[in-house]
């Protein structure tokens, strides 16, 4: 009887574990449908045949400030969208949380910083963030033209808030995009994402 109670407890605990639906390198990218800062709805399926970058963003986070204050992120937006890549900047900050933005605020911030993503997605309920397992701002994902996750991880190999580190850092997203656009396998397909936690609702 004791043994049965134990087994039941174990099963209950296992059932309580959250399902593991995250973006895994080499597997199909999780689907999402999210409105952008202008109210336009985007689904991953809309970008079939294109390379897609997802960049998790919170403008008040010092790690994000490192890459926008230095112009590093905007440079990537411009360089890769000019080459036909779809770049989606995603805000999963819930209402009342740090970095929460409405469409007007998101556009104003991007304009002020001269950011040029394809769109800023407002993932206020955190559905897309949780589907991808987005943990930090920034947390970067590259999806190839077939819809397979090609890269998941940090923007580079220098986890810090120091702008000065960017010059000597290896940018994993640039490297992955260069390889994906050339039809090559991605050398560094995963890395440790670093940054602030994504400010999901409690």
């Amino acid at each position: 009887m004791k043994r049965l109670a134990f087994v039941v407890a174990v099963l209950a605990a296992l059932r309580a574990a959250p399902a593991h639906a995250v973006a895994v390198v080499g597997q199909p990218a999780p689907a999402f449908t999210v409105s952008d800062s202008n109210g336009k709805v985007h689904s991953l399926a809309d970008f079939k045949g294109k390379i897609v970058v997802l960049e998790w963003w919170n403008f008040e986070c010092p790690f994000v400030a490192k890459h926008y204050g230095s112009g590093n992120m905007q440079k990537l937006h411009k360089e890769w969208t000019a080459k036909g890549v779809v770049w989606l900047t995603v805000s999963s900050s819930a209402p009342g949380k740090q970095g929460h933005v409405d469409g007007v605020k998101a556009d104003a911030l991007m304009k002020e910083k001269a950011g040029a993503p394809t769109a800023v997605l407002l993932d206020h309920d955190g559905k897309a963030g949780k589907a991808y397992g987005a943990k930090t701002t920034p947390h970067m994902f590259v999806i190839d033209a077939k819809g397979t996750v090609a890269y998941a991880g940090g923007i580079d190999d220098k986890p810090s808030t120091e702008q000065a580190d960017i010059a000597t850092a290896k940018n994993y997203v640039s490297a992955a995009l260069a390889e994906v656009t050339a039809g090559k396998a991605v050398t560094t397909a995963t890395s440790q994402p670093y940054g602030c936690s994504v400010k999901y609702a409690d």
Binding site: A17, V24, V25, E60, T190, S197
Partner: protein, 288 residues
């Protein structure tokens, strides 16, 4: 049976208050900041040829935290860059075991209230100076919900004396040493991995009741920190079920700190074992 989150640090604060004769909550962070950094030494003097333990002390406002060597899902470990006179050398930070912070679906590892991060300073036998200044630039990340980058230049000047007994901060260091994970061959560990899950087999010393346990990994990019860790018992051994990070890196070792709730209180033991493929065996031999 269930993973546990424990709030701690209060003891250290209380002790620190006693040691300094001031209320522990009086630490004032610089304007706009929430953490006060300082440098303290275990002795009030430095003796040539005798290693000196110093500590970076971070006093955090209520609700704010800083990070452990592995910050978990987000954050950054505290770092120190030393400025020492010729002949002196600083070792690595020794990390007291952390607590967990859950924010939404994410889990990170760190400290709240008050922490001392000890560092050993090697002192040469030939030391001509009458006093020595030890300085460090300390960088940390302080977070409540939002995060700020913190930095301070801290320093300490000690006289050079023929003997260096424990000084006025000795109690603070003694309390911190109790929170440093120790190597203990009386604890047996083995780790194995099947697909997305990983099992740490734990065999506590004879007579030690293991009531709860949490494994804080130091092996980078191995575990999914946010998944619950399930402890089950099998005879004299216990299994701690851990989840792998699906985008993690391959690992041949499992290293970290097991914080175990036992009948005699909480203990923190270093774990560093090969990670083998296949189902877990609980019949592991006790290390001698």
């Amino acid at each position: 049976m269930l993973p546990f989150v424990r709030v701690s640090g209060g003891v250290l604060s209380a002790l620190a208050g006693l040691a300094f004769g001031v209320p522990a909550v009086s630490a004032e962070a610089p304007p706009g900041r929430h953490v006060r950094a300082s440098l303290v030494a275990e002795s009030d003097a430095m003796r040539p040829g005798q290693a000196l333990t110093v500590g970076i002390r971070l006093e955090m406002e209520q609700g704010w935290h800083t990070y452990w060597r592995n910050p978990g899902d987000s954050g950054l470990p505290t770092r120190a860059k030393w400025e020492l006179p010729p002949g002196l050398a600083a070792g690595e930070i020794r990390w007291p075991y952390p607590v967990r912070f859950a924010t939404g679906p994410l889990v990170s590892y760190g400290y709240e209230h008050d922490v001392l991060l000890p560092v050993e300073i090697r002192v040469p036998a030939a030391l001509a100076a009458s006093e020595v200044r030890i300085a460090a630039r300390v960088d940390w990340l302080e977070c409540r919900e939002a995060c700020l980058a913190g930095r301070a230049d801290v320093s300490l000047t000690l006289p050079v004396r023929p003997s260096a007994p424990p000084g006025r901060n000795a109690a603070l260091f003694a309390e911190t040493r109790r929170r440093l994970p120790r190597k203990d061959p009386a604890w047996g560990f083995a780790a194995s991995s099947v697909a997305g899950s990983l099992t740490l087999v734990v065999r506590p010393p004879r007579g030690t009741a293991l009531r709860e346990a949490y494994f804080y990994p130091t092996t980078p990019r191995l575990l999914d920190h946010a998944q619950p860790q399930l402890l089950t018992r099998e005879g004299a051994a216990h299994r701690l079920a851990l989840a792998r990070d699906p985008n993690g890196a391959p690992a041949g070792h499992l290293a970290g700190v097991l914080v175990a709730g036992t009948g005699a209180g909480e203990v923190a033991v270093e774990v560093d074992v090969p990670l083998v493929s296949g189902p877990a065996r609980t019949s592991l031999k006790q290390e001698k």
